[in-house]
Amino acid sequence: MNLTRSLLKSNPSRNLVLIILILLLLPTVSTDYFSSLVGKAIIFAIFAISLDLAWGYGGILSLGHSVFFGLGAYAFTITSLNIGTPFGIFLGIVLGVFVPIIIAALVSSFVFFSKTSPFYIGVVTLSLALLAEKMVIRFSSFTGGQNGLSGVPEFPFYGVPLYYFILLIFVLVVVVSSILVKSDMGKIIMGVRENEERMQFLGFSTPLVRTMIFCLSGSLAGFAGILYASFDGFVSPSLVGFTLGTQVIVWVAIGGRGNIVGAVIGALLINILSPYFNEYFPYVWQSILGLFFIITVVFFPKGIYSFIDKSRKSAVKYDVTVKPQEVKILNSKSNILNINNLGVSFGKLSILKDLSLKINTGELQCIIGPNGAGKTTLINAITGRNNPTNGTVVIDSSSIEKERPETIVDKGIARTFQSTNIVGNLTVAENLQLATANGKFQSFYQNTKEIHLSPSTDKLLKLSRLEEKMTLLASELAHGDQQLLELCMAIALEPKVLLLDEPTAGLTGLERKEIGKILIHLAHEDNISILVIEHDIDFVKEIADRVTVLYDGTIAADGTVDQITQSDLVKKVYLGGH
């Protein structure tokens, strides 16, 4: 019951319930013709939800979502027509859902698991739509070619009138997808949309998250395709083609992306109204629709639903609980991270040259060096942002130099970035919650309002006064606070090794002192090995156990603060005449 109440509580849910009620009562007051029109519109609304899951929530620009819709329709039609009997129909339904999943998984493995631009997925899906349409026409012996296939068997309805059956499925889809996007997993999906890199360095396999949501979206689109084929009794190449792919984007965009209600409203509105435009203005109806799209896109880029739903992300309170302090086996002064002969080069330009470095347990080590010495590159190479050209990086006797960032995080290495890297569109609390997930997939239905923090994270949270700002959006924080939040998130991962890239840039002296204390505490009390890139030599003097000087891609000096500041070499290359 809690679930129903929470669904009814927020504004969008109430609107959805209203829409569903209207649809439920519709057949009692309307003609068969109108019900069948609306029935089809409802199927397209399911299709629109599937796109919205991928595009609006997952940030996956799918320009050819019709491929999944059409494949579902064709797989169902071909199977059920050729096999017949109830078995054929059920096999058709299974295939109609699984063929799109397989295609979505193939596309995902091709796109998400390599470094390509975010727009590439759009190109691939668009091309796929063009390709699928040509293939369907080419292999006409299976697909009926241009003429399509008719006589598609009806979905097994178990006596429920067709319209209500479709409505029932629609309600299910709406409820399930609303729960999904609000769940803990939903937050992860949105986190990946907002800031893929940060999510990677929080230990999430972002390609896997994207693959998951894309396959889910594909299967839902395929299912909508099955319903469509069965409802309309006919499939044709246009179901897989580029035009339908564009149309569904238009529906979602007009309704409002990133919002289930918006997608539903857009799809219903356009699909119900266009036959009327066609009837009353047969020669210009498409232009009228075209004009409508343009006006919506240009003047109401958030879609028409944004007018109805002005509800801002409500300030949800989170309960913070603190884990008991873990007793760590103190293996002090042993080295935890070994870097041997590490080399990084981009083309002919070599940034790091055969660099070897050991990081000791519980030690706070600072790296200084002139600009361009390769300090950030070193951190990038350790954390898998740029895989090194040669050499090894070993943590706890396992080599990580060829691993992906999330695997490295899993081994216990956390980092921050020079320019802050947080999930701006989520609240401070949600950012922390993502960090405490430790890269694991979370519940697909629960919406946890609890954060389970490690004692040191909790300490930092209190010291930084971020505790008072938990309900703010991360993007609304001041620059310094954002930097602190990022540090909190890195510590929340409970790493063995913490790599910080200029954590105090842009902070005042007082703030620096506070952070310095926390860092010392983390290293000496919680036994975390910390590597800090720092410019401010006074700050370094305050905090460092050990200082390493990086110059021209190699280590120029290594030792205590005093040893380093006395060194002539260091004076020459770094401190200038001071």
Binding site: L131, V284, V297, P301
Partner: protein
């Protein structure tokens, strides 16, 4: 295969590449510069073809269509930039949707003005040249020459004048460019107008080869779009290369297998090529 057929086939490949290029170049200017995907590009090409048709209807020399079409479409482009495209800079998704709507409207407006029937634009030259015994139309060779002229002109603009630096600066960082004294809106308007003019020229170039009708643009916009994607943004020679790759493989596959495989090859090459290309959008 006889020598004459072989040479005709080779010439066909070259002209196909030239056609791919002239269609894509206007789209590339607009996409590369403004992050605006002009899905109505095909309709701009169609307008160019109608301009060629009008030229012949007015009894003017068909050669004039190569001037009239770019000018008419450029003026139209200026108008569209002012009322629509201006709102879409840097918004890829919105631009796709809005220009899709624009394309629909353009098709229907052209139908209302000129009717729905097929129009013809005459060839400026009708002669054929003898290639190892087979006749080959001079006009197709002219397309290649025109494509080369466009390449040379754009190359000169990009490399040899300050226009190139300005344009590339605006692509990379519009805000900074503005703070350095560049009127970015003017750069955008001009680029959109240049892109439109190139689309118009493309329309005039292909008009004599095909039937001119309101729906003709749809056949071109996708290949143009794929060519731009493979060629990369703001790189003239990248575009020439991608037109060669896609146009060439379409011709070769069409000749040895069948035209459906030709168009399938174009799509597959695009997907695979972009996956392994280092710098992409």
């Amino acid at each position: 295969m006889s020598l004459s057929i072989l040479s005709v086939v080779l010439l066909n490949i070259v002209t196909s590449i030239a056609i791919f290029f002239v269609i894509a170049v206007g789209l590339a200017v607009i996409f590369g510069l403004m992050d605006v995907v002009n899905l109505a590009h095909g309709e701009f090409v169609m307008l160019g073809a109608y301009a060629a048709f009008i030229t012949s209807q007015l009894g003017l020399n068909p050669w004039l269509s190569f001037v009239i079409a770019p000018v008419i479409v450029a003026i139209f482009g200026l108008f569209i930039e002012k009322i629509l495209i201006r709102h879409l800079y840097g918004k890829i998704m919105e631009s796709i949707l809005a220009t899709w709507g624009l394309g629909i409207i353009l098709r229907q407006v052209i139908e209302l003005i000129f009717g729905k029937d097929y129009k013809i634009a005459p060839y400026p030259v009708e002669q054929t040249v003898n290639v190892f015994g087979a006749g080959y139309p001079v006009y197709r060779l002219l397309i290649v020459v025109l494509a080369l002229v466009i390449v040379a002109l754009l190359w000169y603009l990009e490399r040899k004048t300050n226009v190139g630096v300005t344009v590339r600066a605006v692509i990379q960082n519009p805000n900074l460019s503005s703070a350095l004294g560049i009127n970015i809106n003017r750069v955008y308007s001009i680029s959109f107008v240049v892109g439109s003019a190139l689309a118009g020229l493309a329309g005039a170039i292909i008009a004599p080869l095909v039937s001119v009708h309101s729906g003709m643009g749809i056949n071109y916009v996708m290949n143009g779009f794929l060519t731009v994607l493979v060629g990369g943004m703001g790189s003239l020679f990248g575009l020439v290369g991608s037109a060669s790759l896609l146009g060439g493989s379409e011709s070769v596959f069409s000749f040895f297998f069948d035209p459906v495989w030709g168009s399938i090859a174009v799509i597959l090459i695009t997907i695979v090529f972009m996956r392994f290309k280092k710098t992409s959008i």
